[in-house]
């Protein structure tokens, strides 16, 4: 029973933090709204861009090349999730899993070599 209470208490801390996290910006912003003077003019309403007049759309297009990096990152990042369970259970799995993992990593390496030879890794 005591365990259960400590368990619940630890959630209570989380709840308090959550409430504080939500309340703080609300209170700060609404207090600021009440206190600050409000005299909008046309000049003040324009978008601020380092003092220069804004000249293009806020949505900026990126070079497609960045996108290939992102794809590469996602693939290698996701393949790593197989390494974590293996690392956790390394002691029990032993040599067999080590060999399997080596094969897996070599296969990933071939993919990396492919990307390298196809000049994907070169920074523009």
């Amino acid at each position: 029973m005591a365990d259960l209470f400590t368990y619940q208490n630890s959630y209570l801390v989380v709840v308090i933090f959550l409430a504080l996290g939500i309340l703080l910006p609300i209170v700060a912003l609404s207090l600021g709204r009440l206190l600050r003077p409000n005299k909008p003019t046309e000049q003040k309403r324009t978008t601020y861009e380092s003092g220069i007049d804004p000249f293009q759309d806020a949505r900026v297009q990126f070079n497609a090349r960045y996108y290939i990096f992102a794809l590469m990152f996602v693939i290698f990042d996701v393949e790593t999730i197989f390494l974590y369970p293996w690392a956790v259970a390394y002691e029990e799995l032993g040599v067999f899993a080590l060999i399997e993992m080596l094969i897996f990593v070599v296969m990933l390496l071939i993919g990396l070599i492919y990307a390298w030879k196809k000049k994907v890794l070169r920074w523009i």
Binding site: L93, G94, V95, F96, A97, I99, M107, I110, I113, Y114, K117
Partner: protein, 501 residues
């Protein structure tokens, strides 16, 4: 798991898979580091040799006791052996066609083509011999993802891009369906191993799990229908077949389709015959047969009627392959003792006649840079032997006596009539749609024999595609005239009862 268990496995069981894996890896590395001037067609011959070695290993395994390795996830039995033979022969013929594929500037990435084909083949082989839902799924996706890229290898062609895009979207949706169904199967049995599932599933009380199991069945089947291109996932086939390079089209219509039937048989037959059905004393599989038979009927009708108005030869064959997938579902619905035999035989016949026909299409469309049906005009007066071979393939596809297609259809038909209960309606639909199919197959023949030829430029016939063509023609005739040779071999060597645990 320690070293002793590792060494105690009979690794030679996986020799065909290892061969393909090594060939694919070596090809990909050599392609990266070899000189740009080296003709990449050599890779094709190298790959063909590799498949030959794998076939040799496979034939030496015939008669092997059913066995499982790798913690019961890999299974070698008559079922996997017999279908892997089909997959390997199909891939070998596709590779031969790929070596001679020359369309100008189209196959920019020839090296990639060969090793992606190998990895797709590896996925298909894993599907044939896996005994676990996870490995089945990984094999399925290895095949799918490789074929998405293959469909888009003509990178500069809009049609090929579009084909690949449609294939990815349809494939993604269908694999989500399959997985959703498989997740219910896992949830109701608590295991992904097919042997455990077939044991556990009979314990499920009908009042608890019946709805979920039926939903699982329908979702799994609908998702897998994508691979074999039957209703409701047939719409990708015409576009993808038209946009992809011809060797890839053949691969999708033969090897990928065979693999689809393999996975359907493996999953559905190891899970659902043991589950309690909707009525007392029936299995869930029997209860669901009406659903499959309706889909099979719609597939046959839709494929054959829409094919009638096609002018593009690749689109025509896409609809024809949809129709053939419908015929192939009939023995599954009939579920007679001859089921495996007639499906295997029909898949073998379909492999030969379809690859042969596409080989002729490849030669002709490269010659005239067009895919319209009129490229066959007057072929008989220019290349009589090629016209004769194309006639053999078309007659076989239409199911005329003396060809492999006829024997295959006959087997299916007899199976449907003498099963219990008999599937008269389905057999009648099959008859009727076969007659409809005569119109478009004979339309191509009319072009070859009755139209004058447009040009007199001699038709080039590269080595690889000619070998494939002749092999297919010889095979179609042999299977048509002496089906007993293959069927006897099949009955003595492969015992399909092994498939069940």
């Amino acid at each position: 798991m320690d070293m002793e268990t590792l060494l105690s496995y009979e690794w030679s069981m996986m020799a065909p898979e290892f061969t393909i894996l090594i060939i694919a890896t070596v090809l990909s590395l050599v392609d990266l580091f070899a000189d740009k001037k080296i003709d990449r067609k050599l890779f094709g011959w190298f790959g063909a040799a590799g498949i030959g070695i794998a076939l040799f290993f496979l034939f030496s395994q015939i008669g092997h006791e059913p066995a499982m390795i790798l913690a019961n996830t890999y299974r070698l039995d008559a079922f996997s052996l017999s279908f892997k033979i089909l997959l390997l022969i199909g891939a070998l013929l596709v590779l031969l066609m790929g070596v001679s594929y020359e369309a100008k500037g189209e196959l920019l990435y020839r090296g990639e083509f060969y090793y992606l084909l190998m990895s797709a083949l590896l996925g298909a082989m894993m599907m044939a011999s896996s005994a676990d839902l996870i490995t089945l799924f990984v094999g399925l996706e290895l095949l799918s993802i490789s074929s998405y890229i293959l469909a888009g290898t003509r990178k500069k062609s809009t049609q090929s891009n579009e084909a690949a895009m449609k294939y990815v979207i349809n494939g993604g949706i269908s694999s989500a369906f399959t997985l959703f169904g498989l997740s219910y199967i896992y949830g109701l049995t608590g295991s992904t191993n097919l042997a455990d599932i077939s044991r556990e599933i009979s314990n499920i009380a009908p009042e608890n799990g019946l709805v979920l199991l039926s939903v699982a069945f329908i979702l799994t089947f609908v998702g897998l229908a994508f691979k074999i291109s039957t209703v409701p996932f047939q719409m990708w086939a015409p576009d993808v077949y038209q946009g992809a390079p011809i060797p890839v089209t053949v691969f999708l219509s033969v090897v990928s389709k065979t693999a689809g039937f393999v996975i359907i048989l493996r999953v559905l037959l190891s899970v659902f015959p043991f589950a309690q059905g909707l009525e007392a004393n029936t299995s869930l599989l029997q209860s669901m047969m009406i659903f499959i038979s309706v889909l099979a009927g719609i597939t046959m009708i839709a494929g054959n009627t829409v094919a009638l108005k096609q002018r593009n030869i690749k689109r025509l064959f896409a609809y024809s392959s949809i129709a053939h997938a419908g015929y192939l579902l009939v023995p599954f619905v009939a579920f007679s003792e001859m089921m495996f035999e007639s499906m295997w035989f029909y898949l073998a016949a379909y492999l030969l006649m379809n690859i042969g026909a596409f080989a002729v299409i490849q030669v002709m469309s490269e010659h005239s840079h067009s895919e319209d049906i009129s490229i066959f005009a007057g072929l008989f007066y220019r290349r009589p032997w090629m016209a004769v071979m194309m006639t053999i393939f078309l007659l076989s596809l239409a199911g005329i006596p003396g060809t492999a297609g006829f024997i295959g259809k006959l087997n299916i038909f007899i199976g449907a009539l003498f099963s219990d209960p008999s599937r008269y309606i389905l057999a009648a639909v099959m008859m009727g749609t076969t007659v409809i199919s005569y119109f478009y197959y004979f339309g191509v023949m009319a072009q070859m024999f009755m139209r004058p030829s447009g040009s007199a430029v001699p038709i080039r016939m590269p080595v690889g595609v000619t070998i494939a063509m002749v092999f297919c023609a010889a095979g179609t005739i042999t299977l048509g005239l002496f089906p007993g040779v293959v069927l006897d071999f099949f009955q003595t060597q492969f015992n399909f009862a092994e498939m069940f645990y």
